[in-house]
Symmetry: C2
């Protein structure tokens, strides 16, 4: 920096001011300084700057390892949109994996308490905590994405899981479906609870008996969305009275489920209608094209960043604690009218 000052013929403090606080220095000198910096190939040292400022410009995204792994088709989109939004605001994105082991929790806490990161976007249902320290007390702004954690007073950006599933279920009920098969991810999970509730809601609204909903899954982790679907095929096969409609908690589950039941002779949508959640692009090319509830992940990512920025700048209090971005039901060929006689194969 001293070199730049020399070359530009100005004082070192002026250079600093020009770079960090451009308003307080004349446009002409600023140009001179920029030229000198360019010529010397000078880039201010970010760590020194952040140390002095007392804040980092890195945001971390906390991903449950299982989500990351193989399964969920939406992670890349989430990362992409968040990263773009962050960069526009002058921030960088760091990845933090939250596995089931204590090491990873500790690691995340170190990032937070050690000042490496300035804020966090989490996709996990619980805040990492170990040895009495919790992410909540790190003094960082946090935003939860996909999962509603507004109860724990962390602002959340979610979709209308419950309502969207209810809508899908009503659509199926309107076509004559009365017996449903629900393929769940890990139970107790926010998504499981909300989405399943949506299905039950629709039953209540339409006067059907929720007892004719069969649940499958709930034990396996997200890590194996496809596995969960496969497993559901077994469950389905063993039912004495077959449901005519299926709602799956993720596209992956639906895809492997469909593959399995088709192999055993059921036809979709003639024997069985299927709708799933996520809106992965691949659904359009499934056999038959798969109806899915599309989460607007890009909008959600951008919104999460916006909220984070608000939290970081002004008084933290007047920001909304929950932001609901509605999903969109995309109807495709995997849905048809309920089969009249539902015989086993």
């Amino acid at each position: 920096m001293a070199d730049v000052a020399d070359l530009a013929g100005v004082a070192i403090s002026t250079v600093s001011r020009a770079l960090a606080n451009p308003g307080r220095v004349n446009a002409k000198t600023r140009a001179k300084i920029a030229a000198a910096a360019e010529k010397l190939g000078y880039t201010p040292n970010a760590m020194a700057r952040n140390l002095r400022i007392g804040k980092s410009n890195i945001i971390m995204i906390v991903l449950p390892g299982s989500l990351h792994h193989g399964a969920s088709q939406i992670i890349p989109q989430v990362l992409q949109s968040i990263n773009q939004a962050l960069i526009q605001n002058g921030y960088n994105l760091m990845i933090a994996n939250l596995d089931r082991d204590e090491t990873s929790e500790r690691h995340i806490l170190n990032l937070a308490f050690g000042g490496t990161v300035r804020g966090a976007i989490i996709l996990s249902s619980k805040l990492p905590e170990v040895a009495g320290r919790s992410l909540a007390e790190a003094g960082l702004p946090i935003v939860s994405l996909l999962l509603d954690m507004s109860d724990a007073s962390v602002p959340s950006v979610v979709t209308n899981d419950r309502g969207a599933v209810a809508e899908a279920a009503r659509m199926l009920i309107a076509r004559g479906h009365e017996r449903f098969f629900y393929i769940a991810g890990p139970s107790d999970n926010y998504h499981d609870i909300e989405r399943f509730s949506g299905l039950v809601d629709a039953f209540h609204e339409t006067g059907l008996d929720p007892a004719s909903i069969t649940r499958s899954g709930g034990v396996l982790s997200y890590q194996h969305g496809f596995e969960a679907g496969k497993h559901a095929v077994e469950d389905f096969t063993q039912l004495a009275v077959k449901p005519t409609a299926v709602i799956a908690e993720s596209d992956d589950m639906a895809i492997s489920f469909i593959s399995g039941v088709q192999a055993r002779g059921w036809r979709i949508p003639e024997d069985l209608s299927v709708i799933s959640f996520d809106g992965s692009p691949v659904c359009e090319y499934c056999h038959p094209p798969l109806s899915t509830i599309e989460q607007p992940v890009e909008v959600m990512g951008k919104t999460a960043v916006e909220i984070l920025m608000q939290r970081m700048s002004e008084g933290a209090d007047e920001v909304p604690t929950r932001m609901i971005i509605p999903s969109r039901l995309i109807m495709r060929k995997s849905v048809g009218p309920a089969a009249k006689a539902n015989n086993s194969c």
Copy 2:
């Protein structure tokens, strides 16, 4: 840190030594210090440390925006494995997007020259450079993943694209296929060149005439793998003499292609055999299950990190410049013997 020293009843320099250089301090005092730190909830400030040390502990992964977007199913796996390997070595992963605009290139260079990152793993075919500065001159260790850049003297971890496609092609040729349809991603791209060459190799080996290979695509960006497949359907339909075998550069392309041709009456594998590249999990559940060339992305990620670590520690010269991790051909129902009479539909 001073507080910790007080509580532990030791000098501040001893605390620093205990944390940064544990070998030079007695186990008992180390335990005392650890206890004090735990009690006070103290975490050393990473930025201060890195500033003093002169090196960051952050590695960035440079992803072409297009790769990231929607399409490639393997990105999450790559990120996951790289991040895990990095953390084990005490590093963190930062995401850097390389779009077509100059802003993103400049941003990446700032990360490098500003000392934010210590090294880079790139999935892009070209090193970012703008205004005379190039990533190559930033003095960072760089490793290229998926794309071979060993010509540009950046160590690369790749798979045997060419050989793997050749193997797949031989397998098809052995089943009587003689006319091939190749669905390409963006042309000039490393993957396009290598994989297509593999196909041509197989033709030469077996004495067939490469003229009976029809290429499709090559214009669209990766961003639309599914689109490329759709587009290929058009091309395919217009061929007077239909090929009997298809090789696609990515699973996405194959999936949408299959969906399209099936809708127009062709049957797979009876009329057309298909093999694609990537090994996405979803292939297993396609209709029919899709044969694919599985890239060992996890191993590749770990290997890339290992090489990076070597580059960062010792003399940089004796590390291998290219590491080839072989892919595995997974044969599924999408492949069958060549149709005898190949009539149009």
